[in-house]
Symmetry: C2
Subunit: 162 residues, 2 copies
DNA sequence: TCAAGGTTGTAATGTTATAACAAGAATTGC
DNA sequence: GCAATTCTTGTTATAACATTACAACCTTGA
C-alpha cells in the first residue's frame, strides 16, 4: 500500500508578493481547480512543507508573516483544499494533512495510520476494506457519502527506537 | 448543537439494547468496573436514554438538575466509561454514544454509520475489515492501539422519506 | 458601465476540551 | 480513633477548535 512521503518540494521561501498570479497549477483532482487562490496556495504550501498533520491554528501562526490574521482565512482555504481532494482532515486529531498521492488516485476511502509517539501519518487505500464498507452500506440501505478510517498506534520506527 | 431524534432502527444489523435507567447494570467489560460512581451512572443514563450520540455539553445540560455544573464532571465520567467499553467516542461528531452491544463483544474495531439527515448511528463490527486493518498494520510494523471507522451518509429511513 | 458572484479581512462569538487546585469520601495501617 | 494514601469530586479559569455575520474588494460578463 501507499507510503508516507510528503515531499512536495516547497523549498524556497518564495516571499514575493506578486500581484501577477503566476500559479501554474495543473492539478487535476476530483473537483479539479484550474488554479488556487493566494490563500489556498499558502495553506497548501504550509501543509506540504510540514510533511505531516497541522492544526488550523498552527497553520495560522505559520502564515502570520504572509498576512494571515484570523482563523477563518485558514479554515476557508482548508475547506476548498479538502473539497479539491488535495488535503485530508484527520478527525481524531482535529488536524489537516496534505494528500500523499501524486495523482490523487482515490479519495473515497482513504485510511490513515497515526503514530501516537512521533505524530507521523501514513495514508493508504485498501480495496478490500472499501469493498467491505460499501457492502455493508448496500446491505443496510445506507447511502455512503464519506468514510473516515483512522488507526492509532505506534509506527515501526518508534517501536524500534525503544 | 442540534438535538437529533435518534432512529435506532436504521440498521438491519441492529443489536437489541436496554435503554432503561439501569443504575444497577451488570456489564462486564474489558476493564470491568464492579460498580459505577454516581456521576458515571448519571452520564451513562443520559446516553442510554438518548439512544444516540450526545455531546459532552448536551449531557451537561441534561444533568443540571442532578447537580452537574461543569464540563469536567461530564468529561471525567466519559473518560472512564469509554475506558470500560460502555461508551464510544464518535470522532467526526465530537460526540459520545452508549455502546449498542449487550455483552460488548468486541471493542477493538467497531464501525459506525452516521446519518447526516437524522443523526442516527448504527454500530457494527465487521470481521473482514478488522482482519484487513490488522493485516495492514502487521505488514507495516504498525502497533495498532485503536481504530476509528465512521461512515457518513443517509440512512434507509431518511432516503425513503424523500 | 453595472450587476452578480466569488474571495477576502475582521470582529465577535460559539463550541469543545483541559489545567490547576481545593475539598470530600473511601481505604489501609497503626 | 487517627493519620496517610488514594480516588473522586467541585469549581474557576483558560486553552483549543470552529463558525457567524458583515463589509469591502475583486473579478467576470452582459
Amino acid at each position: 500500500m501507499a507510503e508516507h512521503s510528503h515531499d512536495h518540494a516547497a523549498s524556497g521561501h518564495d516571499h514575493a508578493h506578486d500581484h501577477g498570479h503566476d500559479h501554474d497549477h495543473t492539478h487535476d483532482h476530483g473537483s479539479a481547480p484550474a488554479k488556487l487562490t493566494r490563500n489556498q496556495t499558502l495553506v497548501f504550501g504550509a501543509l506540504s512543507r510540514a510533511g505531516g498533520p497541522l492544526t488550523a491554528y498552527t497553520i495560522l501562526d505559520q502564515l502570520r508573516d504572509d498576512g494571515f490574521r484570523a482563523p477563518l482565512q485558514v479554515y476557508r482555504a482548508l475547506e476548498k483544499l479538502v473539497e479539491f481532494g488535495m488535503v485530508h482532515r484527520l478527525e481524531s486529531l482535529n488536524a489537516f494533512v496534505a494528500c500523499s498521492h501524486p495523482q490523487c488516485v482515490d479519495h473515497e476511502t482513504m485510511a490513515f495510520a497515526i503514530c501516537e509517539s512521533c505524530g507521523s501519518v501514513s495514508e493508504f487505500a485498501d480495496a478490500a476494506i472499501t469493498r467491505q464498507l460499501k457492502g455493508w452500506a448496500g446491505d443496510n440501505g445506507f447511502a455512503l457519502a464519506k468514510t473516515t478510517i483512522e488507526l492509532r498506534g505506534t509506527c515501526r520506527t518508534c517501536q524500534a527506537a525503544v
